[in-house]
């Protein structure tokens, strides 16, 4: 059953569950943070509205900088602003930031130890019709590998709002991964959020498999959990929204409780959240694992549902992975 302590959306499994793009939560969170802290500045590279930074730029035009289509400059200018005490938020599509400007992020932000917050929208293949060039499925790998970087992949718009507000209060670089498409709102305003803390969203009486999910696919994992329980298979589902620093204690506890882990993410299997979990468990409590994600391929055009199914990240695929790992 759903964890009652987290005050999750009571309409979780209703057909009419509210769906909002995760990136909207970033826009709203930045606006709230900007009202509270006058040192916050926003920088955009010609994608102000589609990354939802327009809420901030319209309210605080004097604290908003439009750099044009220049993501390398975007990152390094933000570093300079941070050097003077500002808290810069930069936004673009994840493919371009932290994709195109990775080295600038490494050198001028992380190596320099500047608390720039990077919002990468349109992450994952659910970007849909735009096709593979715009579907960032490598961003978790390239950000979590940089020292000092905090990596957050919120599951819905409300968690994205809370993550954005929380990241404004940290003194480290932060990458916030956002999705374009409408996503079921699984949490509520009352659901707690803390950077670095995982949460158990679903727990059956006798969980046999642990499912660790991040981002919007958490909803597919919850749907899989419900269906599995109806078939008499108990699982526990963890929302791992902070990928770095990794909540190792909770991951190891889940591994000990279930003995089998399935990870679920809209990202390449290589180097992503599942890899981070595997790095932890291989050292501390090695157990069988299955990985739901993109298997070393590029994306393509299609509807989000078509693509999620095609690349094996839908509810059916998660159930199949649970069944498979039970036989191992």
């Amino acid at each position: 059953m759903l964890n009652p302590d987290l005050k999750l959306n009571p309409k979780m499994f209703n057909k009419d569950i509210e769906q909002i793009p995760i990136r909207h939560g970033f826009g709203e969170g930045l606006l709230v943070a900007g009202e509270k802290n006058l040192q916050i500045v926003g920088l955009s590279a010609d994608l102000t509205e589609s990354t939802k930074m327009n809420l901030f730029s319209e309210k605080f035009p004097n604290r908003f900088i439009q750099v044009g289509v220049a993501e390398q400059n975007l990152a390094a200018v933000a570093s300079g602003l941070a050097a003077m005490g500002k808290i810069p938020f930069i936004s673009s599509y994840a493919m371009f930031s932290p994709g195109r400007n990775w080295e600038q992020i490494r050198t001028t932000i992380c190596y320099n130890n500047r608390p720039v917050k990077i919002a990468g929208s349109h992450a994952g293949i659910s970007v849909g019709p735009d096709g593979g060039t715009h579907q960032a499925i490598e961003d978790i790998a390239i950000t979590r590998v940089i020292p000092r970087m905090v990596v957050i992949s919120p599951c819905d718009s409300l968690e994205a709002k809370k993550a954005t507000e929380a990241s404004a209060d940290t003194d480290t670089p932060v990458y916030i991964r956002l999705a374009r498409e409408k996503t079921p709102v699984m949490t509520t305003e009352e659901t707690p959020f803390e950077i670095g803390k995982s949460q158990t969203f679903w727990k059956s009486d006798k969980p046999e498999v642990g499912i660790i999910a991040t981002g919007a696919l958490l909803y597919k994992a919850l749907c899989a959990a419900k269906e599995l329980e109806e078939r008499g298979i108990g699982v526990e589902v963890m929302n791992l929204s902070t990928i770095k620093p990794l909540d190792e204690e909770a991951i190891i506890a889940l591994a000990k409780a279930t003995g089998r882990i399935v990870t679920v993410e809209e990202h390449q299997i290589s180097g992503g959240m599942g890899s981070a979990v595997a790095e932890c468990l291989a050292q501390s409590y090695p157990i069988p694992m299955e990985f739901i994600g993109v298997a070393d391929q590029f994306g393509q055009s299609g509807t989000p549902d078509e693509l999620i199914e095609h690349y094996g990240m839908d509810t059916k695929s998660i159930i199949a992975a649970v069944n498979k790992i039970q036989k191992r």
């Binding site: 390398q72 200018v77 300079g80 602003l81 050097a83 190596y111």
Partner: protein, 288 residues
């Protein structure tokens, strides 16, 4: 501060001392870049001993000017200027590029927190200086009397990001931003005009709404005047194109691109230091 004749002589002597120190530390290090640090010695001397508003005893002084070295590989001249103005003991220069040293091969703030930025990868410094100037513009509008200095190499004009930054600075009318280009005409692979023709450098910056000043990068008075002139320009950032002689001060190194990325050996060090101490054989050195 007034630039008197005595002050000019003093600055020339300081620049010569800094060149000697650069040769000495590079030979000790056994690796590193020689030409750039030598040809920027006069400009660093004017900045650190005359132009910059800073306090070596209080590096975090909030009202200080900011100096961003973009081409981090010429850091021996930055370290020497810092040591000679009292940021840290001169003896520490000997640790350049060695394990555990605060003086990393390319500047790193983790090791030397008094640096404004870590640098090394080319083309990124101007952007950071633009960010600093923007922060002042947000806080103080056009009334800020703090100056942000970005020091670039000419080969960095081959990096697209330099132009991204220059466009933004022109658009934002960052009048308290001054960029200096070390126009020494060399880079690792050869002469810039063979590797990638850059001229007309001045026209390119003018096109992005910058005020352009061209100077002899070894003339102390011209350097100091250019920094002063930049302060009087309203509504535009200023770029000082400093024409320099690569490896300036040691005739055997001058204008030869092969000295871009290698240090002197022991023999070359002695020859170079002797030449600098005797001002090219014009005077007898007290060491002779």
């Amino acid at each position: 501060m007034e630039l008197t004749d005595e002050k000019i002589i003093e600055l020339k002597e300081k620049a010569n001392d800094i060149r000697i120190s650069i040769i000495d530390t590079l030979e000790d290090a056994g690796s590193g870049h020689t030409a750039g640090p030598l040809d920027m010695a006069d400009i660093f001397t004017v900045l650190f001993f005359h132009t910059l508003k800073h306090n070596p005893k209080d590096p975090d002084w909030s009202e200080r000017d900011r100096l961003v070295l973009s081409n981090g590989h010429i850091c021996p001249v930055l370290y020497a200027a810092m040591a000679y103005t009292g940021y840290f003991p001169k003896e520490e220069l000997k640790t350049l590029r060695k394990f555990g040293s605060r003086l990393q091969g390319h500047p790193h703030r983790d090791f030397l927190p008094m640096l404004e930025t870590s640098s090394g990868p080319l083309g990124e410094g101007l952007s950071q200086a633009v960010g600093m100037a923007l922060a002042d513009k947000i806080d103080h509008g056009l009334t800020s009397d703090r100056y942000i200095y970005a020091l670039l190499s000419d080969a960095e004009l081959e990096c697209g990001q330099t132009w991204e930054a220059s466009m933004l600075a022109g658009k934002e009318k960052l009048q308290n931003l001054t960029a200096v280009i070390d126009r020494n005409n060399i880079q690792i692979d050869g002469y810039t005009e063979n590797v990638m023709p850059l001229e007309s450098v001045s026209d390119k910056w003018r096109a992005w709404n910058w005020h352009v000043i061209e100077i002899d990068g070894h003339n102390i008075e011209e350097i100091a005047d250019a920094f002063e002139a930049a302060k009087s320009i309203f509504g535009k950032p200023t770029v000082i194109i400093a024409h320099t002689i690569a490896g300036k001060g040691v005739r055997a190194f001058e204008r030869d691109y092969r000295w871009h990325g290698k240090p002197p050996d022991k023999k070359e060090e002695q020859m170079a230091i002797n030449e600098l101490r005797t001002l090219g054989g014009k005077i007898r050195s007290e060491h002779q």
